[in-house]
């Protein structure tokens, strides 16, 4: 019972915050709603035995990515842009497509059933502690994708610096 109440609270707030974030005229307000959204998603992860991911969500998303957005908004002078129309002229078409795809997703999830369970049940994670369990899987089974992810981040760092620097003569 208490679980359902908490889930409904988080679900309602997540949906409301994401709706608010994409409809605000001021970009800054949208980013602040996103911040609330990320905190509530982190709270939802706590229900699903993902404490470490929940911390990473707050540190990386709320702490790093959203601050990056805030910096860029403060660097730019958006006074002209906020006065313009915020949605494209055919936005009902976008709504129609989104709702259609949502219907397909919701319908397809009615038939979901859980397949063979893996080895990391709650008892095993509790015995190993969560961070150790995630680390074990990450650095053994998924070591190569981990290296590729580090390469992606390296490319992003170099790309961002090269793109944003002033032209040298």
């Amino acid at each position: 019972m208490i679980n359902q109440v908490f889930f409904f609270y988080f679900a309602v707030v997540i949906v409301a915050m994401s709706l608010m974030a994409i409809t605000r005229r001021q970009v800054l307000h949208g980013v602040l709603y996103m911040l609330l959204l990320f905190f509530h998603i982190a709270g939802l992860y706590l229900f699903l035995n993902a404490e470490f991911i929940s911390a990473v969500q707050i540190i990386v998303y709320a702490g790093a990515i959203m601050v990056l957005f805030l910096f860029v908004i403060m660097l730019l002078n958006l006074r002209e842009d906020v006065r313009k129309k915020q949605f494209i002229a055919v936005w009902p078409m976008g709504l129609l497509v989104s709702v259609g795809i949502l219907m397909v997703i919701l319908m397809s999830m009615l038939t979901v059933h859980i397949g063979t369970k893996g080895v990391w049940g709650i008892a095993q994670i509790e015995r190993a502690t969560q961070t150790v369990a995630v680390g074990t899987v990450l650095y053994t089974q998924y070591l190569f994708p981990f290296e590729v992810a580090s390469l992606v981040l390296l490319v992003a760092i170099i790309g961002a610096i090269v793109l944003a620097k002033k032209r040298l003569r």
Partner: protein
């Protein structure tokens, strides 16, 4: 115990809200925000499936999604700064010089 379907429905709703924002907004920063919302919708379903399948692969995937999201935000915002420096606007409808 909350059924798995509730989490999957929530993730579908969040994903579609993000998609609606991406296709209808004209502000490029809000479009990038919408992409982040879509990433988060997918992350919810990955974490939920990871919990209900008792397999940590889903949580590991979320790490990679977050890494890619960080890279995408860095590159995307660098492009936004470039765009603003040359055109003084970030409204995508005003950037129509490539139209055929």
């Amino acid at each position: 115990m909350i059924p798995l379907n509730w989490y999957l429905w929530l993730s579908g709703v969040v994903f579609c809200i993000g998609m609606f924002g991406f296709v209808t907004r004209r502000n490029i920063i809000i479009m990038l925000l919408s992409v982040e919302i879509m990433f988060n919708g997918v992350n919810i379903s990955l974490i939920a499936l990871s919990h209900y399948l008792e397999d940590l692969a889903g949580q590991v995937m979320v790490f990679f999604v977050i890494a890619v999201a960080a890279a995408e935000a860095a590159i995307g915002l660098a492009l936004v700064i470039l765009l603003f420096r040359s055109k003084e606007t970030i409204t995508v409808d005003d950037l129509n010089e490539l139209k055929g």
